[in-house]
């Protein structure tokens, strides 16, 4: 720590982004040769960093990748199409029995006591919500693993 000088953070900030720095920093630098030298050291470092030669692969990456790409187009679009067919099919498969037996279901549920009805609905809803959350977590984990 240098109590009478700018902090290391302030010096770096000034070296990186002079216009974005507080006027206090600029005015200190105007009268402090030591801090100016620190700023100059950082600027020299940044200049040297930007002039370090960029690495290149010593193999033909394009040819290597293209030789390993499978012939058909990426699977993502066909997966999406499958999903678009499967989701409505599932909804119909689940919803159809409810629609066909709606009369029976209405009579059955209306015959039940409200307390018994809630005792049935709440645990089922809780289980469904928990399973949904679990599925979502798994999905997020898989997506992260796939590097999206």
């Amino acid at each position: 720590m240098r109590p009478s000088h700018l902090s290391e953070m302030e010096i770096q900030q000034y070296a990186v982004d002079e216009p974005g720095c507080a006027a206090r920093i600029s005015s200190h630098l105007a009268g402090c040769a030591e801090c100016r030298a620190e700023v100059a050291a950082y600027r020299s470092l940044f200049s040297a960093l930007s002039s370090v030669p960029a690495p290149v692969f010593d193999f033909d990456l394009e040819a290597l990748v293209l030789s390993r790409i499978p012939d058909p187009a990426p699977q993502a679009s066909s997966d999406t199409l499958l999903l678009k067919i499967l989701v409505p099919a599932c909804i119909v498969a689940i919803g159809l029995p409810f629609y066909l037996y709606r009369g029976f279901l209405i009579r059955w549920f209306s015959g039940m006591l409200p307390v018994a009805l809630w005792l049935l609905i709440l645990p089922v809803a809780a289980v469904l919500v928990l399973q949904g959350l679990d599925l979502y977590k798994k999905y997020q984990k898989q997506m992260n693993a796939l590097n999206y």
């Binding site: 020299s44 960093l49 370090v52 692969f57 990456l61 796939l146």
Partner: protein
């Protein structure tokens, strides 16, 4: 043919072509983004064979998941993110990384798998050794090698590739504050090390 490979084709055009089965368009994507990917792979993996495997793996993942790209960032940023995550997984599997650790055991200094642009002859190296600027660059490269892979990558992305904090955050999925903090530590270390080797006047 040359019209086809016009670099002005946008990311969207290229992606559409790839998704319609045009593998050559993916070749152009590889060409356009190879430099950035090389920076990440070469900063995070030391072994030439590993780099080759990683580079292939990165682009095969990008190809397989291209249909999921949602244009929420530049295509190069998205591929750079795949590169960073693939390298990070590789390092974690090999237990070569300690998150937040600044220091790293330096590997072979000459970076054999990723030569710098423009091969130099031994004679050229001798000549360059006389130039303080080149000397500084060489020392700097070896000092960067001494940083941990994540720090190396952050320094390179910010100071060499001129990416913004926001773009680096998209690539690394690190919070902006963490990136700034890591960069601060890495810059300070590099500056302190260089200052011990050179007088301030020489810098």
């Amino acid at each position: 043919m040359s019209h086809y490979f016009d670099n002005n084709l946008t990311d969207k055009h290229l992606i559409d072509k790839v998704l319609h089965g045009d593998a050559r368009a993916f070749g152009l994507i590889v060409k356009n983004t190879e430099g950035l990917v090389a920076q990440i792979v070469c900063k995070m993996a030391g072994n030439a064979e590993d780099r080759k495997d990683l580079a292939q793996d990165i682009y095969l993942k990008a190809y397989a998941n291209l249909g999921q790209f949602r244009y929420q960032s530049k295509l190069s940023t998205w591929i750079a993110r795949i590169a960073y995550n693939t390298c990070l997984s590789f390092l974690e599997k090999r237990q070569l990384i300690l998150p937040g650790d600044l220091s790293y055991p330096a590997e072979s200094g000459n970076d054999p798998g990723c030569p710098a642009n423009g091969p130099a002859t031994p004679r050229q190296h001798e000549a360059e050794a006389l130039l303080s600027r080149k000397e500084l660059s060489g020392i700097l490269q070896s000092e960067i090698e001494g940083l941990s892979p994540v720090y190396r990558t952050l320094i390179t992305l910010y100071h060499h590739e001129d990416l913004s904090y926001d773009e680096i955050s998209q690539i690394t999925a690190l919070p902006m504050g963490t990136i700034k903090s890591y960069l601060f530590r890495a810059r300070k270390r590099l500056k302190d090390t260089l200052l011990t080797k050179f007088k301030k006047e020489e810098l």
